[in-house]
């Protein structure tokens, strides 16, 4: 991969990630303005409110088109954007056969994934 192409890929990952997350967060926010944060766009009602720390229930709440769940998906996408940028850099440096920087970017990726999945 040429350095120009490498930069192009990194730049595109960032723009697409921020674009998608901003669209989701915006959609969730507008929906919340219309029906409130506890509501559902298709009228499904939950007995209990959402928990900000529980992501296991997110798919079900997304299926119910809850504004809070749509915004949360956008926030998760936003968090994933720099992670995707680092992952793309690992591949880029590997294709450039730059062993030192492949190792450095893999270490950064490992720190990010550890913090996201294992640390509270």
């Amino acid at each position: 991969m040429t350095p120009e192409k490498f930069r192009g890929v990194v730049s595109t990952v960032l723009i697409v990630g921020v674009g998608i997350s901003a669209a989701l967060i915006g959609a969730g926010f507008l929906a919340a303005l219309a029906i409130g944060w506890q509501g559902s766009l298709i009228g499904v009602t939950h007995a209990i409110g959402y928990s900000t720390a529980d992501f296991g229930g997110l798919p079900g709440r997304l299926a119910a088109l809850e504004p809070a769940a749509i915004a949360q998906l956008g926030l998760v996408t936003l968090l994933a954007t720099p992670v995707a940028r680092v992952a793309a850099s690992v591949v880029g440096f590997a294709l450039e056969r730059d062993r030192l920087y492949t190792a450095i970017t893999m270490a950064v990726l490992a720190i990010l994934l550890t913090s996201i999945f294992f640390l509270r």
Binding site: F6, R7, G8, V10, S11, T12, L14, I15, G17, V18, S21, A22, I25, G26, G28, F29, A32, L33, G36, W37, S51, T52, A53, D54, A68, A71, Q72, G74, L75, V76, L78, L79, T81, P82, V83, R85, V86, S89, D98, L100, Y101, I104, T105, A107, V108, I111, L112, T114, S115, I116, F117, L119, R120
Partner: protein, 280 residues
């Protein structure tokens, strides 16, 4: 939360993003006092909301700089080892330190940022020093296109261990306060490592998103990223920063910073006052 409060948080975040962009600091540093003082939001939720807005604004800006070859991706990736480790430490520490300490630290960073902007009013080209052997081994030497000078400017890095330690500290501050700590990153690259100012700013922006992601993961898992607050804040700060970036092209950097410096100083003093328990 009521729609009025939702729109209020959005509006105040737009203002924070706009003033932050015009004053040359991130939006997070202003949005945290605005949320806690203005809307009575718990400081941990304000920090959680701010940190995700930092990812949004820095990633958007970084995309353009990377394409323009202003960013040194090797310098950025290497120093991210330090900032992400620091950010993790900061986010873990934030849960155990007293809120008063967070306010005082935030205020000190605000005042320091204001001081840095004044010091940077007269910007000059960096000296072309002898590169360090470590810089050569880490392949940190490069060049960037300078439009004003109309030529490629070659550069290399010096005092790398010092820069690395300063970056770790910048990471801790970012993780503790939910801010980008771009000013500290620029001081490490421009001041300690003697990289050109423009490369330092662009590379700092590139690194901020990854630094923020390291602590944002912890805040998210802890439940401190409440969509009710984080959604309007992220949208608002991003909108404000985009408007600010447009406006900056039309007005002089210098006068804008002079106008907003008193704002930073006032917010900084107010924040320290709150932290020490003197509510105004």
């Amino acid at each position: 939360m009521t729609p009025q409060a939702d729109l209020g948080i959005f509006a105040i975040s737009v203002a924070a993003g706009l003033i932050g962009a015009l004053a040359g600091v991130g939006g997070g540093i202003l949005v945290i006092p605005a949320l806690t003082f203005g809307f009575g939001v718990d400081i941990h939720l304000a920090v959680g909301a701010s940190i995700v807005s930092v990812i949004a604004t820095s990633s958007g800006a970084a995309a353009a700089y990377v394409r323009d070859r202003m960013t040194n991706m090797r310098v950025g990736m290497f120093l991210e080892l330090a900032t992400t480790t620091g950010a993790v430490c900061g986010a873990l520490l934030a849960a155990v330190v007293a809120p008063g300490f967070l306010y005082v630290l935030l205020g000190v960073v605000l005042l320091g940022s204001a001081g840095m902007q004044v010091a940077r009013m007269g910007e000059e080209a960096p000296p072309t020093d002898q590169p360090s052997p470590l810089a050569a081994r880490l392949r940190l030497e490069s060049s960037y296109p300078d439009r004003r000078l109309g030529r490629e400017v070659p550069y290399s890095a010096r005092r790398i261990p010092l820069g690395f330690v300063m970056m770790w500290i910048a990471g801790v501050v970012s993780g503790l306060l939910g801010i980008g700590s771009g000013v500290l990153k620029v001081i490490a690259m421009d001041g300690a490592m003697r990289l050109p100012m423009k490369v330092s700013s662009a590379t700092s922006n590139f690194m901020i998103g990854v630094t923020a992601a390291a602590s944002a993961g912890i805040y998210l898992g802890r439940g401190d990223v409440d969509p009710q607050i984080a959604a309007p804040v992220a949208l608002g700060v991003l909108t404000g920063a985009l408007i600010g970036a447009r406006l900056l092209h039309r007005i002089s950097n210098r006068s804008v910073r002079l106008i907003f410096m008193p704002v930073l100083v006032a917010v900084g003093l107010e924040t320290i006052g709150r932290g020490l328990g003197f509510g105004l």
